[in-house]
Amino acid sequence: MNDEASPVKGLLISPIRSGTVIDHITAGEALNVLKILGITGSTTESLSVATNVASHRMEKKDIVKIENRELRKEEVDRIALIAPQAKINIIREYLVVEKKGVEIPKILRGVVRCPNPGCITNTNEPVESTFEVLEKGLHCLYCDWWIKTDIAGHII
């Protein structure tokens, strides 16, 4: 094979020593995953993000690696809203010590904003938005509104 024509072999993102690798994220949702996890430009995590990576199972997928942070169960489950096939790998000393799928939570608190401008959760009251997660969408437990499409667009 001609060397000039062959792709460069190697890892797209370097392995991490300790932390979390979120694999098999629905292609294009990596940035929303970061949003759900509260990771912004001003937070200090060391991150690697790969988008639209070739995947046998999903054709294309996104990957997020977060160093020195092991995700909690409730954080992981929120990811299921936008990436139901995501797999979470907890890494310690370069070894995968735990591998788990995501599970859609029954109740979401403080994750998505209610689209109803008249909802009490959109005021300065000391409550978090609270949605029950049902097959047909997210149901606001305060004002009864529904989010059925573009869930990622409503993430706080």
């Binding site: 008249g118 909802c119 009490i120 959760t121 009251e125 305060y142």
Partner: protein, 299 residues
């Protein structure tokens, strides 16, 4: 049944039937007039109200209890920036139950989380108004079984919380709803969808005269000026429907015309003398229904 009364969606048919039975007992004038003698009710009304507020006060007084009240945002610590949550925590320390009217949807649900006494939702924005629904059902049940009736809902079905609550309740009784709303004020798609999922037949009409002859109940609601973003959009729809004696010429003998009141021209005063007009009786029924609710949460 919880000790809070927040949304009609929280109730089963059995719960509702129980409360309607209890209301019937308080309508006989043979009830214990001292039942709530030691109790104090706080009425927090952050939106204007005449009937709901006065009927709760009347109900409390008829059971021997006392009431304290706030009747506007301007007269409350809300103008100082106090949250509803704090107001509720404070008032919980004063009263044995709280009746709350608030412009934000979900306010009563929030209040129930911070209150240490029962909260009764007396209307939250365009959301829910469960005690109104109970008195609507109570009024219907005085004349006919609720099961399987044809109910016309006319008016502002988008912002009309009384229509929303009543529709949910009627879905427990196999009723059919015929909606007639001006453009832009139709029943919200989410509610429509949920009612149909509950197995309810909801049929949309353009003109009330197309369906009035088949109705058992015609539930008329006001175009709510206060819910409109501007006057122009209000005036566009404000005069688009009106119930007159002529319209009711060929209706079923037992038709009930109901209205949560106040009316703002949508029912001609000529209808008031017809046997179909039941809205003042409906308003009066607020007292026994609210007596039943107060007794239930504070007994």
């Amino acid at each position: 049944m919880t000790n809070h009364i927040i949304s009609i969606r929280d109730y089963t048919r059995r719960d509702i039937d129980y409360l309607l039975e209890r209301a019937g007992e308080f309508d006989t004038r043979t009830y214990d007039r001292h039942a709530l003698e030691e109790k104090l009710l706080a009425l927090l009304f952050f939106e204007p109200s005449t009937r709901t507020r006065m009927s709760f006060e009347t109900a409390m007084a008829r059971l021997g209890g006392k009431s304290i009240s706030v009747d506007s945002v301007e007269a409350s610590s809300i103008v100082k920036g106090e949250t509803l949550a704090d107001t509720i925590r404070v008032v919980s320390g004063y009263a044995d139950a709280i009746v709350l009217r608030h412009p934000k949807e979900g306010a009563a649900r929030l209040a129930s989380e911070f209150a240490t006494v029962p909260v009764i939702n007396a209307g939250d924005g365009a959301g829910q108004h469960p005690s109104q629904t109970l008195l609507d059902l109570y009024t219907i049940r005085q004349s006919m079984p609720i099961d399987g009736i044809n109910v016309g809902m006319l008016g502002d079905l988008r912002y009309g919380r009384t229509a929303h609550s009543l529709a949910y309740a009627l879905s427990l009784y196999g009723a059919t709803i015929h909606t007639i709303a001006p453009g832009g004020l139709e029943l919200p798609a989410n509610i429509l969808h949920e009612l149909r999922e509950r197995g309810m037949e909801v049929i949309q009409h353009d003109d009330v005269s197309d369906i009035v002859a088949e109705l058992d109940v015609l539930y008329v609601t006001r175009i709510q000026r206060e819910r409109f973003p501007d006057s122009a959009s209000y005036y566009n729809v404000a005069s688009s429907y009106r119930i007159t004696p002529d319209l009711l010429e060929d209706v079923q003998e037992h038709l009930m015309v109901l209205h949560p009141l106040p009316r703002a021209g949508e029912i001609d005063s000529g209808v008031d003398g017809l046997p179909y007009a039941r809205y003042f009786e409906q308003s009066r029924n607020g007292v026994p229904v609210r007596m039943a609710l107060l007794h239930e949460v504070m007994k």
